[in-house]
């Protein structure tokens, strides 16, 4: 069994006016919100116990999106008066949960088969946490993942800005293994974090390095449709051209 945390508290500044009245994960692709779609997909996964969703900016739009979605599980919301950072949120949920924890950024548009495949592979190892990775242009990468190609054990996570500076090549064309924003944490890897030390911190900068230090993080290539909605153009692309009818 495992719990899931969908991260939906972000301010979505790059979405401009689209996220003034509605949180980014509550924006619609077709006739379904991003967070509604993710919740529906996660609910189909075998072994799901509890579904947690955090919210802050335009929290009412996140709650409304989930009210409109008929789910087999009742989601548990974590409301944050101000955005506390993804590492803080993760540690708060980990304090409640005794199970493994699947964490997904709420602005992702995924295909069910890809997600299901990732989770079933991640669950094969009960003591090692897993991060989903994919190839991406350096300038677009959320954070760069450096891992041993044989053991798949992650050596380090490099913030995007740092990776750009270190690169001597044209970062527009350079392709790199990037963090997909999907993690599967084993419960034993989550016990040591204390939320009071993690305010305003990000998972990739505050949590993952600690797990990497213990050689407990492995990388898994994400297969299937995955699209990160960061700008209005991304939303338009997914809505108009890309993935209508993708389950």
């Amino acid at each position: 069994m495992f719990d899931t945390l969908l991260l939906a508290a972000g301010a979505g500044k790059r979405m401009g006016i689209l996220s003034n009245e509605v949180a980014k994960p509550a924006l619609k692709v077709g006739n379904e919100t991003l967070i509604g779609r993710l919740s529906r997909q996660v609910s189909r996964l075998q072994g799901l116990s509890s579904l947690y969703i955090n919210c802050s900016h335009r929290a009412e739009s996140i709650v409304q999106a989930l009210q409109e979605q008929e789910l087999p599980v009742d989601p548990i919301f974590l409301w944050e008066k101000e955005i506390m950072g993804t590492a803080w949120t993760l540690s708060k949920v980990a304090e409640k949960s005794t199970k493994d924890l699947l964490v997904i950024h709420g602005d992702l548009f995924l295909q069910y088969s890809g997600l299901s495949n990732f989770v079933s592979k991640a669950r094969e190892q009960s003591t090692v946490s897993t991060i989903a990775i994919h190839q991406r242009e350096l300038w677009k990468a959320r954070s760069v993942v450096d891992f041993n190609p044989y053991s798949k054990i992650v050596n380090s996570i490099i913030p995007r800005s740092l990776a750009r500076n270190e690169s001597n090549q044209d970062s527009q064309s350079q392709s790199i293994w990037s963090n997909s924003g999907i993690y599967y944490f084993c419960s034993n890897n989550l016990k040591t974090f204390k939320s009071e030390n993690l305010r305003n911190s990000l998972i990739e900068l505050a949590i993952l390095p600690l797990i990497i230090n213990n050689q407990n993080l492995r990388a898994l290539t994400y297969t299937g449709v995955r699209y990160s909605i960061e700008t209005p153009e991304d939303l338009k692309f997914v809505d108009n051209q890309g993935f209508r009818g993708v389950d």
Partner: protein, 223 residues
């Protein structure tokens, strides 16, 4: 008489005889309690004084909550509410005060409630006798914690139901096992909160309204 009623309004915890019996026997409520907000939860929130706007109060309770009134699992009911109807007006009619008091007694009797936790104060009240930045006002957890000092209830097995984020914040602060927020357009409003909410957070579930179907779910949940 008016003075006596004002002193009643200044009381933050009204205990029923059942509760006093519990306290005297030093028994704990091992099944936990259900904390219920009033306006927006048991009936629509039409602004301050909604409780007085319901005609035929006992008929209303009978027709909406008869199952709840007869049996609510093993969990006892406690009402926890901010009531500003008297703070909002500078003069009070004795009749209004009496009707209000009677309705609270009716409510507690109907639900077999053990306690009514209430704050009648407001920091910008027109009524000077009720103008106070009161530490009992939700989202403060003080009312819940003070009740706990009368008789320890299982916080882990308790449930809190309210229609505002300030309701569930008080539950989170008091480490109540489960908080439920009723879905509505004002659920995240913090307009008149007098407390410093920086860094506040709360876990909660959402239900569309507090009807009997949802009630059954709450009643049968393990929390």
């Amino acid at each position: 008489m008016r003075s006596a009623l004002y002193s009643l309004l200044s009381r933050h915890i009204w205990l029923s005889p059942v509760a006093l019996n519990f306290a005297s026997r030093k028994e704990s409520l091992i099944q936990g309690v259900v904390f219920l907000d009033l306006d927006g939860t048991l009936w629509p929130d039409n602004g301050p004084g909604s409780i007085l706007e319901i005609p035929n109060f006992s008929t209303f309770l009978d027709s909406n909550y008869s199952i709840l009134g007869n049996d609510f699992g093993k969990r006892r009911i406690v009402f926890v509410t901010n009531q500003t109807l008297f703070a909002r007006s500078s003069t009070q009619s004795l009749n209004r005060l009496l009707t209000y008091t009677l309705r609270i007694i009716q409510l507690m009797t109907f639900f077999r409630s053990i306690a009514f936790l209430v704050c009648h104060h407001h920091p910008s009240a027109k009524n000077s006798r009720l103008r106070r930045a009161c530490i009992h006002r939700k989202p403060s957890s003080l009312p819940l914690d003070r009740l706990y000092s009368f008789f320890p209830y299982s916080k882990k097995k308790s449930v809190l139901v309210g229609d505002r984020i300030t309701d569930v914040l008080s539950g989170e602060l008091s480490q109540i096992g489960k908080s439920i927020l009723i879905f509505n357009a004002k659920m995240f409003e913090l307009n008149d909160s007098i407390h410093n909410l920086e860094g506040s957070y709360s876990f909660f579930s959402v239900i569309p309204n507090f009807d009997l179907i949802n009630l059954e779910k709450i009643r049968s949940s393990d929390v």
